[in-house]
Symmetry: C2
Subunit: 359 residues, 2 copies
């Protein structure tokens, strides 16, 4: 099938503008759904996974003929890596071995994983904070699939899911926040006095989780944090979103206030950090992913507080994805050793920020 | 005395070109001399220091009317710091309390300390490596002073000095070397395998000392090392210089060979180091002296191997002195707290390297 050999890549929606983008990088909603009459994935009988994937492939193609559908068993590892780095599939979905697939739209804002932890994981994404639009989009897609599929559902428990924490609405809302000021700890201050610690504590009381981009629970790489609802059982989806919507304005206000205070009280240090980040990003000849993320975070702060102009947030977001190993290897057209990735990454960042990259 | 209130500063000869400057930053010769009929400084009787200083002040003004002579007791601390940072006086000479002084030429290549460890410390400096010229200059000055002063001298011991290691010729020759390649230690290599360790060991056998710019014996700040002869007792000055002259070509060759090998085998890493140094030096808003020295060292290597152009070695050498605390405070016209010095230093370096500094 030629459409599987050269499938269109999902678009980099993260490079678009979105509301509240000085603090909110992106938002995601996902629904967990299972199909009545099939066992949960961990209890598939012989051949059940193949049958279900084939069935859902057909359903999804009917629901939206513009979907690109990939059976991951037939998909090259390099492409799977790229899809993972664009948030279209989870890491577990890439590394699994059973029959499984993914459908996505060309703009990359919608994907449906088939046979992940649940039979269906319906995901919608958007830049910045616009949960209302995401709710509308994910509900619409959920309805259109639900017209064709019998979901596992009981009036008492709601949607049944493989893991009980998802049962009920099956909804998880995650918002990626950039909190450099809340993460900032002045020299000589006591450990644990940063604002981010207070955010963690407050979020926990609301049943919200705060994690680093890569799951860290303390100070996150690049000061990027995901905040998400946790338990969906027994709560209507509106309430899960409501708790997040109630908490977010506080976090945003808090981050913005500390940014303003830092700019007032510690401007030279912030300028130093921002300009060093710009300097190294545009001059390094080799750079690790962790260092680059940390410097892009500083640069992002510089752009948000208007210290740096000529660089858009979209460019920074695009780099955050394009500099990851799968994207670098796809760009290079071959597998790369880590030290060679560091060189290709430095070149990509330099060329992109200095505007010599046609990509 | 108005000439002591606004004395001309000694010139920054280090910003001039010199032979072998890719490796040799500068050379210095000094002679230790004492005056017959006076006690060594540590044994001065009441009033002896004043009398000797007055006497030698007169002698030096006769020897070279163009000398600027400063009695350090009457010299502001800020000016003393500047003289120290230009190598005109030693740290001990600045902080001492007894009657003492210094004479220097306008170009800063010659100075004579009065009542330092010995009654007279005659010093000549030059950029790069040109010991023959320095010998001629220091001998000439020594002769002209010796015509007017009875030196403490015995045929058996030579010139008598306060510390026995200087007795004999009283000559110390020091050469400041920039050895980034010999100091370079690739990741994962065993400690102590750098070339600089071999240089240390070889130098020791020749009775030569290798020290960091600030006296460190292992890897030096900025990879700047002083190599000097040690014992002068019982050896003619020609031999002390001879040993150094014998050893230096080996060290220079060794450093150059490793530079060439690194550029061949590890070019990306060297480019990365050089360009990051340039980037941070031209963008930082605050920078410590230690970080700046280390980055200037990398930049210097980049200039020597022609990776960076548009920056002269003289500019780097000038910055190495102008960024020191005394110079920064003189520039600012007031005492500066260390954190404020870091800001003024960053501005000076940025403006100088980007060519917006008129100084």
């Amino acid at each position: 099938m030629s459409d599987e050999r050269d499938p269109p890549l999902p678009g980099l929606w993260l490079a678009e503008e979105g509301p509240e983008q000085d603090v909110v990088v992106s938002s995601r909603m996902r629904l967990a759904r299972n199909v009545d009459g099939y066992h949960f994935r961990s209890r598939f009988r012989d051949g059940e996974g193949e049958r279900l994937e084939q069935y859902l492939h057909g359903v999804l193609t009917e629901v939206d003929p513009s979907f690109t559908y990939l059976s991951l068993a037939d998909t090259p590892q390099t492409l799977c890596e790229v899809l993972f780095e664009r948030h279209i599939v989870s890491q577990e979905h890439v590394t699994a071995q059973h029959p499984r697939g993914v459908a996505y739209t060309n703009d990359g804002t919608t994907s449906v994983m088939v046979n992940e932890e649940d039979h269906l994981r319906i995901q919608v994404f958007g830049p910045g904070l616009d949960l209302e639009t995401l709710v509308a989009n994910v509900d619409d897609l959920d309805d259109r699939i639900g017209e064709r599929v019998d979901y596992s559902f009981t009036p008492r428990h709601g949607y049944l899911t493989s893991c009980p924490t998802n049962t009920g609405t099956g909804l998880r809302v995650s918002v990626m926040l950039h909190l450099p000021a809340l993460s900032y700890r002045p020299d000589n201050s006591r450990p644990g006095t940063q604002g981010i610690v207070k955010v963690h504590n407050a979020a926990q009381k609301l049943g919200l989780a705060v994690r680093g981009m890569h799951g860290e629970s303390s100070r996150a790489e690049g000061d990027f944090y995901q905040i998400s609802n946790q338990v969906t059982l027994g709560r209507p989806s509106s309430q899960a979103i409501g708790d997040l919507l109630d908490a977010l304005p506080q976090v945003l206000l808090y981050e913005r206030e500390i940014r303003a205070a830092l700019l007032k009280d510690d401007r030279t240090r912030i300028e130093d950090t921002v300009w060093r980040a710009w300097a190294v990003l545009t001059n390094a000849r080799q750079i690790t992913s962790a260092e680059a993320l940390s410097l892009l975070s500083s640069l992002r702060l510089g752009v948000c507080v208007e210290m740096i102009d000529g660089v858009g947030l979209g460019t920074i977001h695009r780099l955050m994805i394009a500099m990851r190993p799968g994207h670098l290897q796809r760009r290079a057209g071959s597998e790369l050793k880590p030290e060679d990735r560091d060189i290709v990454r430095a070149t990509l960042i330099r060329d992109t920020l200095l505007g010599t990259d046609g990509n």
